[in-house]
């Protein structure tokens, strides 16, 4: 490791914006150089690197990559160990200047015009032998007399003579600045000698010499991506924020080489990690109508919510089998998409429909709009159309714990049968101690015939951050995979909105803590324990629900990937082998009291 220290001739990368061009490859250069010095035999060389003058065995590539990682970590940690010059000679790429970056990459590939651009090379005395090597390496590569041949350009700015002294950092920066501007303007243009001070990019210093262009194997980067994500999370866990930050930027680069679900997941997780590191917490108190819109797109794009609604409805329907007046309490009414299907089923019940009463609970909306009432009005219209006696009441509360059973005006059991429904609502209560118990006791006071609970099947509420992160990574990877691979090709806006809906959850799980972290998903087994401890006994969901769920999923093209499973009377919907959401039904009392 110490050897590596001495031979460091690259620079670390601290991007000024969100676009990161982490160039661990620059550090890797010196590693490869070291290997070259040790004179490996010519056989089995990596071809691409050989072009650049580095002899690295293909079999050693993995090793090289690993050393890259290690070195970058060390670079992050060992700031104060005498290589602080690395932090000053930073490489900044303007994220919007994509063409400039590409030009710079191409420049290096065809041989950088001057080895002097590498400031650290010249700066660090112990590595004085290396600059020569570097120069030789680089000049050896340069044999293409293309437009990238900046030596053809007269003057000092574009291609300073190789013996110029690095008198000051500003000189170097000047050179690089002009390089970058030339990169963006295109070669051979007149605007080749801009004054470096004019360059508006703060500290914009581009570093060319030590960036070999290596073709990236997408699959390999996928693995590296996951590893980098995990490493970054671990760094956060250990409170090593600098290292975590460096790794997060690296993720950005790796994610760019991926496509599809993996890329999106990585991007969301990287953003969430960055928020956690910089403590820019997302506001959970966004306009609920905005989240409703996202939810609607999620509802339309994939079957999870439909599955939840249909299975819960089936359980409620069976519980309401003989009742004449029914009352459903919905803990999260949102747009009320669950209830039309139930109302239709009740309307077509043999024996005629019961009187249907719905109590919807929801968060406050900004402004004077009463969203709950509007939903209630729509449902009332539907009820009138299909001939059901309908009654609606909406309750606006900040959280479920603020609600009291008396507020709901529960009618006695002989008059009305009650069902309580909670889809993705109960886990939010775990954010504050005591809230869940309060709500559970409220539920008990409502004396429901059935309680339907739909929750995510994941453990995102463990005490250790790293465990939560790992679990969330797997969970949301499967979820995004299913969105991509379900074969349904919704308009890209729908897909993007659904992903955004999930992305906000990811942000909450990873970046928030304490009372803000509301996405505290827990697996079915834990919910079962909670329910049973609270005095509920499970109600088996039955084969009708199972059949209907299976049929529903078969309608989604790519239904092969979705899997409905029965789990001790509960139904889970998963993607391939991974269950993602679980529906369960409960009733009060012990198992002996009636069936």
């Amino acid at each position: 490791m110490k050897r590596n220290h001495r031979e460091i001739s690259g620079t670390t990368d601290y991007s000024c914006g969100s676009g990161s061009r982490a160039d661990s490859s620059s550090i890797g250069n010196c590693i490869k150089e070291k290997l070259w010095e040790e004179d490996h035999d010519a056989g089995g060389m990596d071809e691409l690197l050989a072009v650049l003058g580095y002899k690295v065995r293909s079999s050693d590539m993995a090793d090289v990559a690993q050393k890259l990682e290690m070195l970058e970590m060390v670079m992050g940690i060992a700031q104060e160990d005498g290589i602080s010059h690395l932090s000053s000679d930073t490489v900044h790429y303007n994220p919007s200047d994509l063409s400039g970056w590409v030009q710079s990459m191409l420049t290096e590939l065809n041989g950088p015009p001057t080895p002097n651009l590498d400031p650290v090379l010249v700066n660090s005395d112990p590595t004085s032998s290396n600059p020569q090597h570097q120069k030789q390496n680089q000049s050896r590569v340069f044999n293409d007399d293309s437009e990238y041949d900046l030596r053809a350009i007269p003057g000092v700015a574009a291609y300073p003579p190789s013996n110029s002294e690095p008198d000051s950092e500003s000189t170097r920066k000047r050179v690089k600045t002009s390089m970058s501007s030339s990169g963006s303007d295109g070669y051979g243009s007149d605007s080749f000698f801009p004054s470096p001070q004019e360059n508006g990019i703060p500290g914009a210093v581009t570093e060319f010499s030590t960036r070999p262009v290596v073709l990236i194997d997408s699959q390999e980067t996928g693995v590296r991506l996951v590893h980098t994500l995990m490493a970054s999370a671990e760094a956060v866990q250990q409170d090593n924020l600098k290292l975590a930050d460096a790794l997060v930027k690296h993720i950005g680069l790796l994610a760019a080489s991926q496509t599809g679900a993996m890329r999106k997941v990585a991007t969301y997780f990287a953003e969430a990690l960055a928020r956690r590191i910089y403590r820019i917490f997302p506001q959970d108190s966004l306009d609920p109508s905005y989240t409703d819109i996202l939810l609607m797109h999620f509802y339309e794009t994939c079957p999870y919510l439909k599955f939840a609604h249909f299975t819960a409805n089936q359980a409620i329907l069976e519980a309401f089998a003989t009742a004449n007046r029914v009352h459903v309490i919905d803990f999260g009414l949102k747009q009320g998409m669950q209830w039309p299907a139930l109302m239709q089923a009740l309307a077509l019940r043999p024996g005629g429909p019961p009187a249907f009463r719905l109590t919807g609970i929801g968060p406050p909306h900004p402004g004077n709009t009463d969203a709950l009432q509007q939903v209630g009005w729509k449902l009332a219209q539907l009820a009138e159309t299909i001939g059901i006696e309908f009654e609606f009441r909406g309750f606006v509360v900040n959280s479920l714990a603020d609600m009291e059973a008396e507020m709901l005006e529960i009618r006695p059991l002989e008059v009305e049968v009650v069902a309580v429904n909670s889809v993705f609502e109960l886990h939010r209560l775990l954010a504050r101690p005591g809230w869940l118990d309060k709500v559970v006791s409220s539920i008990k006071a409502m004396k429901p015939k059935i309680l339907t609970v739909v929750e995510q099947e994941a453990n995102h509420n463990g005490p250790i951050f790293l465990d939560r992160f790992t679990e969330a990574l797997h969970f949301y990877s499967s979820l995004f995979d299913s969105l991509e691979g379900s074969g349904v090709t919704p308009s890209s806006q729908d897909l993007a909105m659904s992903e955004l809906y999930l992305g906000r959850q990811i942000c909450n799980v990873v970046a928030c803590e304490g009372m803000d972290r509301v996405e505290r998903h827990e697996p079915l087994t834990q919910w079962r324990t909670r329910m049973e401890t609270a005095g509920f006994s499970p109600v088996h969901l039955g084969s009708n629900a199972y059949k209907q769920a299976n049929m529903l999923l078969a309608l989604f093209a790519g239904g092969d990937g979705y899997r409905v499973e029965e789990n001790n009377g509960c139904l889970t919907l998963g993607w391939h082998t991974r269950p993602l959401i679980a529906t369960s039904a409960w009733r009060l009392g012990t198992t002996e009291s009636g069936l």
């Binding site: 998409m337 077509l348 969203a371 539907l382 919704p490 309608l555």
Partner: protein
Amino acid sequence: MAQNHHRGCHRRNHQETVGETEEKRSKFFINDHADILIEILKRLDGRSLCVAASVCRLWCAIARNNSLWENLCFRNVSPPTSSVRSVVLALGGYKRLYVGCVRPVRSLLGRVRRASMARDEVQLSLSLFCVDYYERLGGRNSNGRLVGESSPSSLMFLCKPVNV
């Protein structure tokens, strides 16, 4: 079939006007017997029914008859109760139910078809139909989404071609 029908009619008429004019017109003309026509059309499949609807105005009017489409929806399934009829009619009619829900559901589930599933298919279609109606309900919607005029998006997943 329809074309021949009409040609046949014309030919017959022509012959009659040319030939025995005093002979009473005792030939059978299907358009005179709407109930028989309905019985015939009842046995058609969806596509043929739509084709039949484009034959002439009479046939178009008849093909819009809900009982025809009801038959189509509940083919292979025990006949529905009257309550179903009223509900479906209120939600938009059987033709809409068939075209929007039953037909895509049947075609999507076609590969795993079993006779026992026919009833469940219809029930599922009914549920989806109802959800669709609810979504299409106009109203004072605060988030600016033109719910009343937007296409029924909750059935979107049914409309996409299946990539088997």
